[in-house]
Amino acid sequence: MKRIIAKQEHCMGCGLCEVYCTTQHSKSKDIVKAYNREKPRPISRVRLEMSKPVSFAIQCRHCDDAPCAQACLTGAMHKDQETGLVTHNAEKCMGCWTCVMVCPYGAIKIDKEGHVVAKCDQCTELETPACVANCPNGALECIEVKR
């Protein structure tokens, strides 16, 4: 399976990863429309972690033991044994926040308008996840990891 790795020494804290993630997860796939017009406003699933001078971007780690999937009250969060990805079905999500409580990385975002959670799906529809592809300094890398 693939995992996105953050390289702290390359991260400049520009936040473009969040911008491109938001856009990729918008309906229009257009930056301006995504930020200014779409309702509910799309949410970035990657988060720029910053405590100056340290910065790096983290999204769902797609953990092997996936505590979120184990704790999910509705079956919305699911560890796909074939791909290794942790998937989230917003249609089944009841917004109980149990996954938020058990995520060691605080990587699950709350979509306040939709009253559901949102998290990284590794942009499976793209060759390279949007955050990785658009990082201007190579601070994110998508690599194959052993499970």
Partner: protein, 426 residues
Amino acid sequence: MPKYVIVGACAAGIGAVEAIREVDSKGEITVISEEQCSHYSRPMISDFVSGKADLAKMKTRDDQFWQKNNANILSGKKAVSLNIAEHFVALEDGNKVSYEKLLLATGGKPFVPKMEGQEKEGVYTFTNISDAELLAQKISSGTGKNAVVIGAGLIGISVTEALTKRDVKVTIVELQDKILSLLLDPKASDIVEAVVRKAGVNIVTGQSVQKITGKPGNEGSVGGVVLTKGDQIPCDMVIVAIGVIPRTELVTGTAIKTNRGVIVDDYMQTNVPDVYASGDVAEAYDFILNQNRLLPLWPLAVLEGKVAGYNMAGKKTDYAGGTNMSTLKYFGVPIVSIGSANPKPDPTLEIVIKEDVAKGVYKKIVLKDGIIVGMTFLGDIERAGILFYLMKKKVNVKKFKDALLADDFGLAALPLSLRRKMNLEE
């Protein structure tokens, strides 16, 4: 003969089936389920009543779950007794199900104290889909407009929110001085109470219901309640939401040891060989209190069921333990509360609190020797999981404790050594 028999097809039963199949793809599994539809989410029943979710949405696994896992599900069958010497479970219909390894995942049942009038039409409990259906029907029929909810714990607050969304006027009656007193400290409780009251709910604390009265001219139906101090509240529904107690009926009279629930070891095994217990029926390990206790919580039931499943299938697995851990989503106030969030005064504990009234945020951590033993995050919960991780890993946070409660707290605020351990960055 089935190799594995599981009594109960809710959270713990599902967890056990998945774990067994990870280890043993062939051994025959039989699951005995009292309910016709078993694999739905009980914590979601309030969303069923409010109309937000139907049964299809509530299913935690797809309908082919049992078939996919090659498990034989006996739906609508009730296990009535257990014969340990001969290794079988007797069903109500007279059939016997033999086992090599047995998991008791029978769950809990609502606790209903003796009250005069409790047999009247209009008195409900609230733990499973049948309860939710009855309650929803009552509201839809137009005969349920005013409710008294007894108990202001998780179940009481969840049903209150659902009723409020259906325009039912609710009065909560809670014996303790504060609502959600098992989860929250008085301050956090007050914040929630204000929000619940604002939604039009009446809250009476420090009292209980001593008597349920009938309707004038229709004594068989609920017409009101009389509280312990004598106050009367007219209503047409009473929902008893005091809590759940373990369903230990099956082990009564057997050699299986019980306290309040079935006693299990670190492998979720009872004192009787080949018999395991998990979920609301079992007293499993609490890593904060360092003792076994009842913790009737869905996510823990799944984990306990998994541990039992692994061990039943021969993969020796320790249960790491759970603790009192809950999230609340009701009345628009997100809350995460874990462990000893509301401890008795103790000079060895250090409490750090951060409150922002304007933002509706309240955060608290309880430390013992620098290690987090309890926490409440209210209003801003997205990063709460990081603290829960530190709590589980018993990380000494003394040097950065204040950062944990900061608005901008995140992974970058953790020491480098810890970030390395978490494999956060290259």
